[in-house]
Subunit: 147 residues, 2 copies
DNA sequence: TGCAGATAGGAGTATATACCCCTTTCTGCT
DNA sequence: AGCAGAAAGGGGTATATACTCCTATCTGCA
């Protein structure tokens, strides 16, 4: 591959977001790889730890992920026993929760996640990174429901 | 789905990037949908218009996309005749270029792209959006090759 | 000239993403 | 009690993403 070629400066908000996301996701995925987790899987486990247990759609809204997307991402986590699913009182609801295995996996991967986070923050700068996060949240808030 | 639930404020750079990217990508994809293009496809066509023609790996580096990813994204574009592929002098190289159909499709979709772009900028604010783009580019530059 | 090593790309596999359309289940109103 | 409409989710399809391992080709050097 022509590694000497620099990425282009796209004027497109979406393309630029995607480029940055790809690059950053790679870092996190590599950090989490020894623990058998992808970044999104880690996010799901971490979210479930906070929520305790939550129906699929609720969790999807929390993570700003499409419902069907989340369903497919949860699948492998259920398969390997990190996440449990049960029907709620409202039997339409598929309630997800962390299994003990899921919790310990999450905890064992936490240092790797922190290392990736630290690495990114050190490379861009702590303040700039925090500022960027603020702006990304503002963007998310601004465009949500605007479609 | 529990539409009343707000997205969570994740401390994770990667998760936050992904959330924002998903939300923004949806806007662009919807805008481009009448023209039968996804955001990434539009980016590829737009990039090819600028580059004239480029080997797959070169284009991938420009777009900060993994080579194999780009190959799979180019496939449908070739299939419907928007992009042409040919072997280069160096016969390992798969040289891509815009077909006349590709060019006219790109041009017809351009107003929709501009509308999406404008919509996002208006929702976050023009200056903030530009600042965000700067920071995203800085992030991309900072983490590139750092893995 | 010939070969070692580098480079471009292809194939297989797995997750990530989201659309549409459908079924199941529930809730509110009559 | 019964039905209309809303809500939660499942399944099909298609693109998006990237890793690993593999082949084909080229280039530089002996």
């Amino acid at each position: 591959m022509s590694a000497a070629v620099d990425p282009v400066e796209s004027p497109c908000v979406c393309a630029t977001l995607r480029m940055a996301t790809r690059a950053v996701a790679r870092i996190y995925d590599q950090a989490l790889e020894p623990f058998g987790l992808r970044t999104t899987q880690y996010s799901i486990l971490a979210r479930l730890e906070v929520e305790g247990s939550a129906p699929l759609g609720h969790l999807a809204a929390r993570l700003a992920i499409d419902r069907t997307t989340l369903a497919r991402e949860v699948e492998p986590l259920v398969r390997v026993g990190l996440v449990a699913e049960a029907r709620g009182e409202d039997r339409r609801r598929r309630v997800l929760s962390l299994t003990p295995d899921g919790l310990s996996r999450l905890e064992s991967a936490q240092p790797a996640w922190r290392a990736a986070q630290r690495s990114v923050k050190e490379q861009l700068g702590r303040e700039r990174t925090d500022g960027l996060l603020e702006e990304l949240r503002a963007l998310l808030g601004a465009v949500r429901g605007a479609s």
